[in-house]
Symmetry: C2
Subunit: 324 residues, 2 copies
Amino acid sequence: MTGVLYDRVALIGLGLIGSSLAHVIRREKLAKTIAGHARSAETRETARRIGLVDEIHESAAKAVKDADLVILCTPLGAYGKLAEEIGPRLKAGATVSDVGSVKGAVVRDVGPHMPANVHFIPGHPVAGTEQSGPESGFAELFTNRWCILTPLPDSDAAAVARLEKFWRASGSNVEKMNPDHHDMVLAITSHLPHLIAYNIVATAADIEDVTNSEVIKFSAGGFRDFTRIAASDPTMWRDVFLNNKDAVLDTLGRFSEDLSVLQRAIRWGDGETLFNLFTRSREIRRSIIAAGQETAAPDFGRRPDTPSPREAGRGRGPREGAGG
Amino acid sequence: MTGVLYDRVALIGLGLIGSSLAHVIRREKLAKTIAGHARSAETRETARRIGLVDEIHESAAKAVKDADLVILCTPLGAYGKLAEEIGPRLKAGATVSDVGSVKGAVVRDVGPHMPANVHFIPGHPVAGTEQSGPESGFAELFTNRWCILTPLPDSDAAAVARLEKFWRASGSNVEKMNPDHHDMVLAITSHLPHLIAYNIVATAADIEDVTNSEVIKFSAGGFRDFTRIAASDPTMWRDVFLNNKDAVLDTLGRFSEDLSVLQRAIRWGDGETLFNLFTRSREIRRSIIAAGQETAAPDFGRRPDTPSPREAGRGRGPREGAGG
C-alpha cells in the first residue's frame, strides 16, 4: 500500500477515466478526500447516487479549492475554458494534470492559464473501454496499462516523481516523453485505428447492396471487431481529431498509400505481395501478447452472454468465432 | 441429438474449420466414419497424434472414396485442382460442399469437375478465430454463428435440406442466398475488415518516427483490436482477395471515399461532421450484441492471461482497457 499521496484530489469530469480514478484512489487510499465536478446535472446526480466521490461540485472553480492534485478528465475541447476558470483558484504548490489523448494541444490550451506557483504536468493513461459515463469506471482499468507523462522543461522533479508514484499506485506503468512525440505515437496506436474503425462502420451502414440486417448477422466474419472502438464516446473523439490534426493526417496519408499498394495487388492478382504482407502481421500480435498488452486466448477470449441451452452446464463455455 | 446424417464424411483440409468440423461431427454423432486429408505431412502427423479423425489419407482421391459428404476445407486456391482430382472418384449420390469465404469462384472452379450424379452445394460457415492448424479446432466454433449455403438453381432440394440439417446440428443458423450476393455481403462484413486490419498493422510497423516497441507498448489505445484478425492465416486470405476481386475493390472504393470525407473534416476542423459520424456507430454495435453475434462485456470481456499479484484472488478479474 502506497498510502496518501495527495490530501485532496479534484477530478474535473466524471466519465470513464474520472470515475475509474475515483475507484482506484479509494481502493489504494491515495487521497483523504476526493472532490468531483461534472458539467451535466445528470452526471452529478448519478455520481451522488453511487457515492462515487466525497464531494460533488457544480462549479469546477469550487471543486479545485484547496486541492493538492487536480486532474482534468473531460473531453479535450473543454480544457481551455476550464483552465481559465480554475487557474486563479488553484492552491499554491498544487499539481495540475490531465488524462487527454493529445498532449501538444493541452500544453497550448492549459499552460497559459496556470499560475507560476502550480505544477502543470500533462498526462495520458493509455487505457479505456468503449463505454462511457460515471457508471462505467472500475478500479482495475489502469492495471498493467501504460500512463505517459509529458513534463515540461521547467517541471519540478519532485512534483513529477509524486505524480509518477500516483500512477504506479493505480496499477500503471509510467513512461515519460515530450508532447510532440506522444502525439505521433498515439496517432498511430490509437487515433488512426479509431478513425478507420468509425469509417468502416459508416461504409458498411451505407452500402446499398447489403442490408444492415445482413451486416449485423454476418459480422462475426471480422466486422464486429471494429465496432468496439467505433462505439467510443463521440465528443471525446471529435476533440482528439480536432486537436491532433497534423499527426493524424500524416499517419492517415501513410495508411492510404499502403492501402493503394494492396488495392493494386488485388486488381492485378499479385498474390505474392498479399501473402508477404499478411505474413508480417502475426509477429506483431505475438509481441503485443508477450508484452502483456493483449490476451493470448483466441477471439479475445470472448464469451457469449447467453450460451445456448446446448452449451449450458459444459465445463468450457463456447468460444465465439471471427474470421472467414 | 440429430443422429447420423451421412455414414461417411470426408474432410479435405484439416485446419481450423476442418478440425472444428471433426470435433462437432463426433460430439453430435453426425457420421459413422470421418476420413481426413491434408496436403502437408506435418498436419497429417499432428491429426494422427491427436486422434482428430478416423482415417488419415495422403491422397484426397482416396479420402473421398465412398464418402456420402465431402467438405473442402483448404484455402480457396487449392479447390480447382482438388476438384479435378476427386471428381472421378466421388460416390454416386454424394454431396460435395466447402467452407470457403468466396462462393462465385467456387462455383467457377469446382462446378465443372463435378459429375452429374453428385450434389454440389457450396457453403460458408461465417465463423473462425485468428488461429489456424489442426490443433486450433473446437466443437463450439459454429455455435450461434451463421452458415450460408449457396445452392445452384438445379440443386436437389432433399440434398440441400440434409446439408442444412447437418449445419444446424453443428450449432449454426443457416441462411441461403445466391453466390454473388454472398460475395458482396462477405466483402463488406469480412474481407474489407481483414484488408484494413492487415494494412494498418503494416503502416504502424513501417512508420519511422515511432518504434515498433512503442507501437506494442501503447497498443491498448486501440491498435491491438486490429491485430487479432490481422493474425489470420495468410494463405487463406491471399486466396480470398484473389478470388473476390470485384466485390472487394468495390467496397474498398467506397471505404476510401468515406475516409476522404473524414480526412477533409479533420483538415478543415469540421467537428460537426466528425461528431455526427461517430454518433451513428454505437447503434450498430448495439444491434450486433442484440443479435447474439457479440458480447456486451466491455473490451470483449478480455481477461489478461497473467493477472498481477494485486488482482489474484479477487472475485472479479481485471478488465483490460482499450481506447484513449
